[in-house]
Each structure stands twice: as structure tokens, then as C-alpha cells.
Symmetry: C2
Subunit: 402 residues, 2 copies
């Protein structure tokens, strides 16, 4: 048969595929300790489960029926009210809010709505591992701001200024960050907004971890002076309500962007999951979210984060990292150990999995500046297994020969 | 702000938007009789609802957790077994099956995987109203085969031959058809396969209505001699299990296409709804599907189809249509009445809604050959309201002045 589309051969499948294989192996074999995934492990909110049951027993046809592409009005209203409550920024639920099939479709359809061939997109390096391919699929060109552990994984305003030009169409900032866990500094965020005003570009503020914060405060990008008309804020229920499989994300943005996204989404997915939409209204409106996050989610993840941090200090004292103030991950500079072992971090990850049964993600999957690093998820395993896993990494790095 | 992407201004939002507004109005006002939608109205399979409840109460974290982009292996196996059982064609569930966020994402990601700029795509006119925009978003060029009521809405082999060339990259056939309800003739399907072999192009066989058949037999495109390696078969649970809101579709195709789709879907939605995936295994494997379709779905829709057909003959004797052997719709040539009224079918639809409270879809939304036609869904309303609605259309067309 004739070859497929060029866009398919241009984008790289390898990183996520390799990650997926690690996930799969780790999921199926309980003897593997997985620091590889990114999925919540905390109990779901009981009130949300009750709402699913109620919807399915009282009106299954409506609960499982088509919704509009933007999503049901009640959920868009609840999302706008939630943004007003926490972020103190007003959005019109009719014209400035759209649901999507996860944060993934949100980012993808924003980029498809905004980018023309050759438009430049500023992202950090390392960054979330889907962005570059999404930019490529929308025919944009990624431009990278390096971030380093020595600077607390904060992008620098100076580097940003060096990249911005009239070709810049959008900058993507995820905060709290995947893979590093850092919360972006308010100084950087403000400088970004100023440049967005001067050069007239968009800011995609990926805030899917906005409520997964252990210290410090979330930076609400759209609230900064001058930011609102340049900012496209992406959220998701995957982390906040622990339902990543139900694929429900959302975007708050100026009307023209929402209109563009609606067009794209009509022809790519038609609409997001109806059942999840109806149920999540209850999560936001029914006073489920705040106690769930405060009493269940944050304490549960914080303890795990602290256990992993203590173990890293004890067993990998020469590794460099930050204590992540948010999100699910330690991003660890392993170059001291890798040099001694004579391995790159990809070889390290694969031998570690084979010899010690511990799964980690090689840092290069997140960008060139991730070389020599690994990403360790702390939310997935029980505390004893976190201890055991880091101890095994320590044994592996101090063993004689590989 | 600077303008959005050109791709967004190139695609048309109007048809679906206008349709959506008709849907919305009709849904919210019980006094409006809606022949506009396309959503099932039959009770959901009880065994499937029970399975949702079981999954949510026994293992909510897994049921609502990420799956791989291709979907869970158990459901891919069940889909391959289902194809083998009904279609008598073998597919490898590991390499030749992928789930997607509805049939919509399936078609969209197939086109994104296959089309390069300028590649030609053969579709019928009228046809399903998302195809042309999806082709446009993937930078292809639609080429239309006209279909007419006088020929039973069958595309002609002669017209097909006139369109096929070395630029043809793919042909899309939906059977049973939306909007006309016709089942494609085996003669046409065979000629299409022969041409696909000669000119080396793909066939997308959109079979989302394959089990919604009242007379005749489904044409399993991939089963025809020589077809398998050229055919990409799309299915969906929206109609078969009456759960369109849960957005679960699937594709069976040669490995290279599935690999391409997986790449696209990783970066556009990541994965389809997990809960629906787990539950649908039970629908296929648990002997729920066949009795549900035979005892509940088909008798329920067939009666409605016959009521609408009888009423059309009685109240719109000069309208031309076919008795649809499958799917959900009558596609009705109203040109006799429209000429007398001095209206085009879009004005007709909007005045009919306003004056008589009956919602129909203007035929031009489905293509130039749909001008002068309307699409009437017969599955959504109870029989008395179908009778009442067609009677009102009759009154409207025979009234003196508009």
C-alpha cells in the first residue's frame, strides 16, 4: 500500500510507547515497583461514585446520550464558578468555557486552533512529553527554554526574552510542572505576560495540577495584570477527582479561542463523555471537591512525597533534585551515578527494571535537558514499596558492574 | 489578538452549529417534535447498566484509570471476536484493532494518518455531515459521487470510475447510510474494491449502523475478495449499545494504519473512556448484544420507521424518498412542495420549526445534492408524536402562504 501521511512519520512515537510498555509491564506484574506512571492511586470521592450510580439508575439514556461539543451548560457554569472562587477571575460559561476529552484534547485543539505552519511555540525543556508532538501535528515549531535543577527547574526571564520574537504565536507553561514538580515563579509569569502583551502572543497555562500543591501557592496566570486576554487556561478532572480514565478536561479562554476549539473538536471527537460531565457537576457544586482534596488527596500524596524525598537523600545522596512543591514527581539528576556506572539514563532505566524490578522514566523523553535525569512518580506505590524501590535504586547504583 | 489558524477559518461550522441549535431547542422544549437528532431513544441494555454499577462499586480506581491508547486488550479481543462472528473476517486484536473516542475520532485519526496535502478522497453527496470538514482538516480534497432518490440513493459505478485516479488516496462509504438509510449495493462495493486494488487506495468502510438493519443484509466490505488489505472498518457502540455519550468507537484495519492512528490519538486524546471500555467487554462477551438488538432495538425502531413511512405517504404524497432498510433516517426530496411554497429547504425547516414546532434538518447540510431535501429521524419520538409531526408538515406544505 502507499505510504501513510508525512505527519505520521514526522512525529515520534517512541517516548510514549516506551513509557507505555513500562507502565504495562509494571501494571501486570505486582513484583515490579512502578515509579513510572502518572495516575492517581487515591480512593475516588465517594460522593462522586454515588452520583454515577444515581445517574445510571435514574436516567441512563440522558446520562449516556450525546451532549453538545462544548459540554453541558451546568458543568460549564460550575467550572466558571470554580475559577471565580479559587482563581478570582471571571469567565462567561456560555462563551468562554469548553469541555474536552481530557487535558490532552484541550491542548491539542488549542494548538490546532491557533498555529499556522512555522509559527513558533515556546516551551520549557524538559517539559510534558506530549507538547512537542502536538505542536508538530499543528505544524508549529517548538522553541525551548532550558530548565535546570540548579535553578530549581525555574525557566529564566533572560532565556525567555532571547526566544521571543514576532514569530512567537504561543508559549506553554505547565505549573505545577510535569516532570519537575516546580511551581512557576510569579516573576517569570509576570515577565511572560508582559512579553505576550508586547509581542501579541498567546499563553497556554496548563493548570491540571493546580490543586495538587504541598507548599506555596498556585500561580493563576489569567489573574495577573494584563494576562486575561492573552491567557488560555487548561484544567482537568483527572487529578482533582482522580478519574483520568474518564477523559474530562476543560479550557477557559477568550471567546475567539473557544470558538476555534469548538470547530476542531466537533470534527475530532464531537463531544466529551456525557456521564462524567453530569457527575462532575455534583463534584464541583455539591461541596465534594474541597474536603476531598484537603482531607484525602493532599495528605495521602504528601506523605508519599516525603517518604520518597527522605529515601532519596539517604540512598542517592549525590543525586540532585528539588522537593517538588506540587504535582506527582521527583525529577532527579542522576549524572553523578550514571558516570560511575558508564550508562546513559535510558540504559539505566532498562537495566534497573530488569535487574531490580523498579520502573522509572528516562529524562530524555521530556527533552534534551532531561538527559542524565529520571522521573520518579511518588503517588502510585504504597509507602513501603516507595522505600523498597529507592533502596533498590541505591543498591543498583552502588553495585560494581553493569 | 492575532488571527487564529487558517485551518479554523477554512472549515465550516455552520451546518453542525445550526443543527445543534435545532437539537438544543427541541430537547429543552417538549412541545417541539424533533425529527432532527440522531440519538437512540431505546432503553439501555440492563446487563450493561448492571456492569457499570458492578465496576464502579468493586474497583472504581481501575475502572476510572488510564488505559493504553489502543484501549484495553480484553475489549480489543472481544471486538475482533465479534467481527469474526458476524463479518467472518479475522483481525489480530493486538496489531489490527484500536479503540477511539467515538466513531468520530476514528474517522478523524484515520484521515490524519493517511492524507497528505492535496490527496483526493471520494465520498458520496449527500453524506454524513462531518466527513468533508474532517478531510479538510487533514488537508485532503473531497471528490463527490452524487446520489439521488431516483436511484435509491445508490452511488453509481460509472460515476465512481470517472472520479478515481492516481490522486485518489481513500474512499469513504457509510453503509447503512446517514442521511439516506440505504445499504450500499454489493455490485458497487465490489467495483470499489477492484478499483482500490488497481489504483492502490484505501477504503474507509463506516459501519456504525451495521446492526441497525430492517431489511436486507449488511455488506461487510473487508470480506469481499481482495478487500481486506485495502479496507479500514469503523464501528461504534453508540448505536449498538445506545450509549453515544460515552464516545466509544473502534477500527479494524491493517497494522500500518492502526500504528498511524495510535500515534495521532496519543497526542489528540491519549485514550478513550476507561469505564465504557471495561463495561462493553461484558456487552460483547456476556451474550448481551444479540438479544438486545433482536428483541429490543430493532423491533422498537422498525415500528417507528413504518409509522413514519405510512404518514409520509398519506400526508406528503408528492415527496420522494426510499423506505430506509437501515439506520435512523428518511431522506426526503421535498422539491415539489418547496417549489409551491417558494422556499428553499433551509427556510422551510426554520419556518416549520417556528410555525408548527417540528424540527427537521435541511438536506444541503449533507451536500449539494441534498438541496431540496430534508432529513427526518424516526428513532427519537414516540409513535403518536411521529404521526402528529408528519401531519403538521403536511398542513404546513398545503397551507396557502409563507
Amino acid at each position: 500500500m502507499r505510504p501513510l501521511a508525512h505527519r505520521v512519520s514526522r512525529i515520534h512515537v517512541s517516548p510514549i510507547r516506551r513509557v507505555a510498555r513500562l507502565f504495562d509491564e509494571a501494571r501486570e506484574r505486582s513484583d515490579i515497583i512502578s515509579f513510572a506512571g502518572g495516575a492517581p492511586s487515591v480512593s475516588l470521592p465517594q460522593g462522586l461514585l454515588d452520583e454515577f450510580a444515581r445517574l445510571l439508575s435514574t436516567d441512563p439514556l440522558r446520562s449516556c446520550g450525546y451532549t453538545g461539543t462544548r459540554g453541558i451548560p451546568q458543568l460549564r457554569e460550575a467550572i466558571a464558578a470554580d475559577m471565580e472562587k479559587y482563581g478570582k477571575v471571571h469567565y462567561d460559561s456560555n462563551t468562554e468555557v469548553i469541555l474536552s476529552t481530557g487535558g490532552t484534547e484541550a491542548i491539542s485543539s488549542i494548538l490546532m486552533s491557533i498555529l499556522n505552519p512555522g509559527d513558533e511555540v515556546i516551551v520549557t525543556d524538559p517539559t510534558y512529553l506530549g507538547y512537542r508532538e502536538m505542536i508538530e501535528l499543528a505544524e508549529g515549531r517548538p522553541e525551548m527554554i532550558p530548565v535546570k535543577v540548579e535553578e530549581g527547574y525555574q525557566p529564566s526571564v533572560e532565556n525567555l526574552k532571547g526566544l521571543v520574537s514576532n514569530k512567537t504565536k504561543v508559549a506553554i507553561i505547565i505549573s505545577p510542572d510535569n516532570p519537575t514538580g516546580r511551581i512557576v515563579s510569579e516573576a517569570f509569569a509576570k515577565a511572560l505576560v508582559d512579553l505576550a502583551e508586547d509581542y501579541d502572543f498567546w499563553i497556554i497555562s496548563d493548570e491540571v495540577y493546580k490543586h495538587i500543591i504541598y507548599e506555596g501557592e498556585h500561580v493563576w496566570m489569567s489573574r495577573l495584570p494584563g494576562a486575561r486576554e492573552h491567557t488560555i487556561t487548561v484544567g482537568s478532572f483527572s487529578k482533582e477527582a482522580s478519574i483520568p480514565g474518564l477523559r474530562l478536561g476543560y479550557t477557559l479562554a477568550p471567546e475567539e479561542v473557544i470558538n476555534g476549539m469548538e470547530k476542531i473538536q466537533q470534527y475530532s471527537t464531537l463531544a466529551p463523555d456525557s456521564l462524567a460531565q453530569f457527575a462532575l457537576v455534583k463534584f464541583l457544586d455539591g461541596n465534594l471537591k474541597e474536603p476531598y482534596l484537603r482531607e484525602i488527596v493532599i495528605p495521602f500524596y504528601l506523605k508519599k512525597r516525603n517518604v520518597m524525598g527522605r529515601m532519596l537523600q539517604a540512598h542517592l545522596p549525590e543525586a540532585k533534585t528539588i522537593t517538588p512543591p506540587g504535582a506527582f514527581y521527583y525529577f532527579v539528576d542522576m549524572r553523578y551515578y550514571l558516570a560511575r556506572l558508564g550508562l546513559d539514563e535510558e540504559e539505566f532505566a532498562s537495566q534497573l527494571l530488569e535487574e531490580k524490578g523498579v520502573a522509572v522514566i528516562p529524562g530524555r523523553f521530556f527533552g534534551d535537558n532531561g538527559v542524565g535525569h529520571v522521573r520518579l512518580t511518588f503517588v502510585s506505590e504504597p509507602e513501603e514499596r516507595i522505600e523498597d524501590g529507592i533502596r533498590k535504586i541505591g543498591e543498583f547504583t552502588s553495585s560494581a558492574k553493569h
